[in-house]
Symmetry: C2
Subunit: 153 residues, 2 copies
DNA sequence: CACAATTAGTTGCGTTCGCAACTATTTCGA
DNA sequence: TCGAAATAGTTGCGAACGCAACTAATTGTG
């Protein structure tokens, strides 16, 4: 199976999968970002830190960087912002004093509890535009590509 | 069909489709970028301008911005860089002297002819990790999402 | 035990980005 | 036809980014 006509000599960017994938990722991100940006004042790195700490209480910046695949400086700055807003707090680890355990504060837990259902609902709305067949096929393709590129968890 | 277990209360970022899509787009972009970056010294905006001008000779910056969905300042700066390197040239449009028609120079056409087959081959290699079924399903899902988000051409 | 190598996290710096403002030109409407 | 609104493209500026260098703490090795 070919993505485009085999005798096309030039490159039509509109049909180029890497370009389309980037455009789609930006579109999906924008489709969600007004929830955590406008309503909660979070940017993408901050949102990812909140999402990670929300399920992995007491994790380290290192762990967040590894599991979100963000650069450690991006994580460091996102954590600093969230701490200024009293959404998370950090305590030096007793076992290794280089590390700092990150936890949601009471306000952070409240925001997380409000935010996550809205975000999951948005994801659901988005994926509802696909038939069962399309969703299954899309997820299968995404998994194969992730595996090929070594992006899996 | 559900993407994750319905009784999962927290949000696992690793299974969150918008996050995975962004990660995949970055991974695919990196998989390609060493061709146009290391071997031809182009960054992503420059590559997109080359790809557009390569098929749409004499188009304007406006047109490039619309068809690549890049911000007009990003297009403007990419064009300026490519002009400095004598890969493209601009002439003021006779019909509308606000516009400038963009064309590949001889050197630009040579680069385009070298570059495009390599990039298309890389795309082919990437998509070869999918079965026919998976490719069909993945493209169908991508089209449906693009349509839902109004990203189509 | 001491010292080199490694690791967690932060910060300085140059780059890239998009918004807003700007110039130049064209189009629209009274 | 003249002035206001719109459009093509550029530039100033502040925000965000990643690399490299840094501090502090730990681990490994002789």
């Amino acid at each position: 199976m070919s993505v485009r006509a085999p005798n096309e000599l030039g490159l039509e960017l509109a049909g180029f999968v890497p370009y389309r994938l980037n455009r789609l990722a930006v579109g999906v991100s924008n489709h969600l970002s007004d929830i955590y940006r406008e309503r909660f004042g979070l940017d993408v790195p901050e949102w990812r830190v909140m999402a990670t700490v929300g399920t992995q209480h007491g994790c380290t910046a290192q762990h967040i960087a590894a599991s979100t695949r963000m650069h450690k400086t991006r994580v460091s700055r996102a954590i600093a912002h969230l701490e200024e807003r009293d959404l998370i707090e950090r305590v030096s680890s007793a076992a290794d004093r280089r590390e700092r355990e990150v936890r949601l504060t009471k306000a952070g837990r409240r925001m997380y509890a409000d935010l996550v259902p809205l975000v999951l609902e948005r994801e659901r709305q988005l994926l509802a535009c696909l038939t069962k067949e399309q969703l299954r096929g899309f997820l299968a393709g995404m998994e194969a590509l992730e595996s090929f590129l070594g992006l899996q968890d």
